[in-house]
């Protein structure tokens, strides 16, 4: 029930060269968005083949999280790096729908689907 410690809030994985998967491990709100933002900024570089943000462990996100992801999408586009959001829980998907952002992002059901596309 206690929040995951902020230090290990975002896990970084690289299943193959050129692919980075970021895994936020708790609620993304105004107190944690800056941590996600800096993880994205340090990993999302020109030349990366693909970035995947795995939201499977996130039960809650507010508009600061959405803003962080919108910004990530813009950086990804400017660097021509495909960015996919995967494994969204139903509650988090509902927030994307309220904000009419579900069409703006590439949202995939699973990591595999994002790796294959």
């Amino acid at each position: 029930m206690a929040a995951a410690s902020d230090n290990d809030f975002v896990r970084t994985e690289s299943p193959e060269t050129g692919v980075v998967i970021l895994v936020p491990t708790a609620d993304i709100d105004m107190s944690r968005s800056p941590i996600l933002r800096s993880a994205i900024k340090s990993e999302l570089k020109p030349g990366l083949d693909r970035m995947i943000i795995d939201l499977g462990e996130v039960q809650y996100m507010d508009s600061s999280g959405l803003a962080t992801l919108v910004e990530a999408m813009r950086i990804a586009k400017s660097h021509a790096v495909p960015l996919h959001l995967v494994s969204m829980t139903t509650k988090v998907r509902a927030i994307f729908e309220i904000a009419r952002l579900d069409a703006f992002f590439s949202i995939k059901d699973s990591r595999q689907e994002a790796l294959d596309c």
Binding site: D29, S63, L66, A67, V70, A94
Partner: protein, 169 residues
């Protein structure tokens, strides 16, 4: 929501630090759960509260983390004559702004930010900003819970978007 059928309010005085958002969300979410909202609705109500508090911290207090915020939550248990529901009042001592200037951006123009007020209005039935007497702002938000075990309210019958509401007991 008639004042008569309200339960006792829960009052919280906290400071404008984002570290308290989670605790505030959990509290309002457990109250919403109890008055009859489903998990998804509870999560959305917590979201509306979170957005309101974030706006006070960011716009009202310019990100100072030690200024007061007061929450008052009125749970309304369902009974024979009313749906259950929840009313949330959020007050601050931040700068006063004309309520009509508080509005979100055009959703089609996608950019970071400008979503909080939209989310509050989308999630809650009622969202009213006003200046407090003297200093600070007050925000009232309320939402009625659906009663899936009863006939739907007139006008919702044909929407068909909620199968639970279409069931007639």
């Amino acid at each position: 929501m008639t004042p008569m059928s309200r339960s006792k309010p829960i009052k919280i005085e906290l400071v404008s630090d984002p570290m308290y958002l989670c605790g505030a969300r959990e509290l309002v979410s457990s109250i919403a759960h109890r008055v009859g909202f489903g998990d998804m609705e509870c999560s959305k109500i917590a979201l509306a509260l979170d957005e309101a508090m974030c706006n006070i911290i960011r716009h009202g207090y310019n990100k100072a983390t030690d200024r007061p915020i007061w929450l008052t939550i009125y749970p309304q248990q369902p009974d024979e004559t009313t749906y259950g529901g929840i009313e949330i009042i959020i007050e601050d001592e931040a700068k006063q702004v004309d309520p009509s200037t508080i509005c979100g951006r055009d959703l089609a123009d996608i950019k970071p930010g400008g979503l909080g007020v939209h989310i509050m209005r989308e999630v809650m039935d009622q969202v009213v900003f006003e200046k407090r007497n003297g200093t600070g702002m007050r925000l009232k938000m309320s939402k009625s819970a659906p009663r899936p075990d009863e006939a739907p309210r007139i006008g919702q019958r044909s929407s068909g978007s909620n199968p639970a509401q279409a069931r007639i007991s």
